[in-house]
Symmetry: C2
Subunit: 191 residues, 2 copies
DNA sequence: CGGACATAGTTCGGAACCGCAAGTATTGTG
DNA sequence: CACAATACTTGCGGTTCCGAACTATGTCCG
């Protein structure tokens, strides 16, 4: 896992490369370290607790969300898990095929679908989550208890801010010009 | 972007679900907020600055790494970008096909390949990065300058810790039993 | 020299993933 | 009842992604 460049060296190289360009280094370091940390943590968890249960990261997150909230409508599951509805359909199918998750119709609104863990899923999470949490402790080892709290709190503020203002910001940014379509994706039926 | 549950509500639900189970909540909140923040930030950046240049997140990260370091051997690019070398082969191919990146053989060691931005790639990054940085400022808006520094520093400590001790930890965890193979992946040629 | 081992990169199988369009079904509304 | 809105699914085209197998190259050592 030890890399060619440490995170400190990278920041120094950025300094050198961008010496002339005026930019906001503190925010850059904060944001890029969030992603570095997220990637490193995810890889650690995938290759320790998750691999032994043959779960992908996304599969685990979906199970976790449903576990925490009990029954949950699919649209909210997708949102909480940070994936699109289309992706959720596929992931849920995979988890169903392994007997961990089940899909129920909504009793009063026929359009809705609700996800719930099966007993096997409940058992798996009851077994897995403590192990997962142990690794969260391991990766947080360099933080004092008060630091971990402060870290969580700052990140929470960022997420809240994005949820509140992100969409408007994106609208402002692109002004009149609509977003270009993606290179890929389904095409209209014809011309 | 506004969700069914706020991050605070989720933490409360976790508290309720796991009231009886002894676990380490501070570290759990810290780690899960890292991923929440990373996802939210990534989606914001993808749907603002990156979309307008038709770049994926990973494509941008690879360009960024090569941009910062100048010429770079592919193995280090993969590591810095946080992806596997197999993935890098494909991503680099995509970026090459768009004329942003070029691939050079190493003069003395025939096994090595080196990546470098094309002039078009340099120009794109020179144009794109300031915009990217502006959004980093936007997402960091709720943080004081000193907080952003402290956030970056704590995350840096976590990454360093994982780089130093992650592999050993994973070895200790699995003890004798080797990691099970993934469900997917290439199989041996026969039997 | 030559075989054993190590290292770097590519290929490939299977899955995840997005965004969008289109389709299905249901609910709400005038 | 027509019509719009909502929720989910399906399918498309493309990308990303991992990790094991494979290929090519370099190195070590007898």
């Amino acid at each position: 896992m030890s890399g060619h460049h440490t995170i400190a060296e990278t920041e120094k190289a950025v300094q050198a490369k961008l010496g002339a360009v005026p930019l906001h280094r503190e925010q850059m370091a904060a944001v890029s370290n969030i992603h570095r940390a997220a990637t490193a943590i995810r890889q650690h968890l995938e290759n320790s607790v998750l691999r032994t249960s043959d779960l992908t990261w996304t599969g685990f997150v979906v199970l976790w969300v449903v576990w925490i909230w009990g029954e949950m409508e699919t649209r909210y599951v997708a949102e909480e898990a940070g994936i699109s509805k289309g992706t959720l359909t596929g992931v849920a199918k995979t988890l169903q095929s392994r007997g961990l998750l089940e899909r129920l119709g909504h009793p009063t609104d026929g359009r809705l679908a609700v996800l719930r863990l099966t007993p096997e899923g409940e058992e798996l999470m009851g077994d897995l989550f403590p192990k997962f949490n142990e690794e969260e402790v391991f990766v947080s080892d360099p933080l004092e208890s008060s630091e971990a709290q402060s870290l969580a709190e700052m990140l929470r503020r960022m997420v809240t801010h994005l949820e509140a203002n992100g969409e408007q910001r994106r609208l402002d940014l692109r002004g009149d010009t609509p977003l270009p379509p993606r290179r890929s994706g389904r095409r209209a039926k014809h011309g």
